[in-house]
Symmetry: C2
Amino acid sequence: MEIRNEITSLLEIKYPIIQGGMVWVSGWKLASAVSNCGGLGLIGAGSMKPELLKEHLLKCKKNTTNSFGVNIPLLRNDASELINICIAEEVKIIFTSAGHPGKFIDILKKQNIKVIHVVPSVKYGLKAESVGCDAVVGEGVEAGGHNGIDQLTTLSLIPQLVDEVKIPVIAAGGIADGRQIAASFSLGAKGVQIGTLFAATVESSAHDNYKKMIINAKDNDTILAFKKIGLVRMLKNNFADRALVAETEGWNESQLKELLGSKREMKGIFEGDIIEGEMEAGQSSGLVKEILSVRNVFEKLFFEYKNSVSQFNK
Amino acid sequence: MEIRNEITSLLEIKYPIIQGGMVWVSGWKLASAVSNCGGLGLIGAGSMKPELLKEHLLKCKKNTTNSFGVNIPLLRNDASELINICIAEEVKIIFTSAGHPGKFIDILKKQNIKVIHVVPSVKYGLKAESVGCDAVVGEGVEAGGHNGIDQLTTLSLIPQLVDEVKIPVIAAGGIADGRQIAASFSLGAKGVQIGTLFAATVESSAHDNYKKMIINAKDNDTILAFKKIGLVRMLKNNFADRALVAETEGWNESQLKELLGSKREMKGIFEGDIIEGEMEAGQSSGLVKEILSVRNVFEKLFFEYKNSVSQFNK
């Protein structure tokens, strides 16, 4: 997979494959493994207190000399604290999501940090570009975890985003196979961000129960719930069933917040509670068949990608 | 766009581009125009009484000597009547949707009619294959009009379907650009079915108000509504807003059916009522910028496709 483009230059990586920053999944172990394979590993700060993020940064730097980055959900009250730690530890790449990057962009650019923002629609892509982001991740509604309210799919979103913004676009949502990397490039993306597939690797810090649920899932084993309080895609389980019923019955925001409670993702993804946990994962779960090492994931992706694009080489 | 594969052989067409059968949109005029360009035109029987279907078949045969087909939604009470007319008029290709093709497959296969079924998930793809369908259309939730309850997206669905069925897979949902045709082939599809883009052509029998709404739509100008009584994607308008509120408030089936009323699609698509009509269209609406002739649509698609796949030809 010999691809040199704006994204490989911007992020100083060998392959334009980015591992999404995921709560309870992507600590230093997963991120450094991905970076060591030539992709971009991201530490998911979303589930980390500032001091824990610092620990992961130190370990990540010890375990890879390649480019890596940090994903910071901007809705965190302590987002600026997380950013200060990244600056202190000389992080060079920050992916921001769930919020407006304009608030922090000046501080980050002053430190020469590359800022890539995750967007669910053209409108937010233009906004990210206008404040000075270096690239955007266009994430379709097939993605696991939190989604945009407009529910644009990756196939629909990417070409529309590519037509409207001048900065490079990275495709995300539903990608777990080299065929989908080829498809993303066909659509005009210059890189891909992959979540669920990496969440189920050996190096992921998620609980085995969660990884097993992913590899056993079929195409239609995820649902989209909690539209009124922040759309989330998760694997079907007892908790997800109750969330669906609540939606069907038209529960209001406070009722839904009570049902959701707190730390559901931790309970599911990290502690492996298959009944009460929120098992965030994408529609690509059906494509993930076994728990592989990160190195084997890269080999699998290259093989599938080459196979797919060979049809255009006649 | 030189592609010869299982789908071009099966349907005896030059290009593996199929125009979706759409209510109030695809009569003989649109279908014959598409077939004359080397794609497969489909007459959408969903909005036709049996005698009207016969009229369209006669006119279509008069206007093209190329392959064309008919789309029949199997939930119609008079589906068998529609099928009998197709048999009498020697239709060679039938696309079935919204129901189980098993009921009619023996009659159709006895007449050597090719049967292609539209499916929203792997489960229904396997079912269609097991009863003897010649191919399946895998349709993602970005598509306009009726959608499957699992809400799989095209990017997620197609590779999973390709892996599970042996018959060829046609990709549908969100496709209005040659880049997305290249993406569909990357995913393993052997053809594409395109709706919204053709709905906004000169030859479409839809009302101009409807075509104008499509070409003015942005990426996020469609919604998915009526989950409890049959998921539909439509353009945002006054009626769509009310449908969304009803959903949020948890209205029950009978309340929703009352809100929907009857002939909403006719009111919107055919009569052009931009306030009260149901304007069925896909997320690809944002990619459709002008009302083109079918011939110009094909030229546009070829150009975009060639441009896209040239990146793999280095």
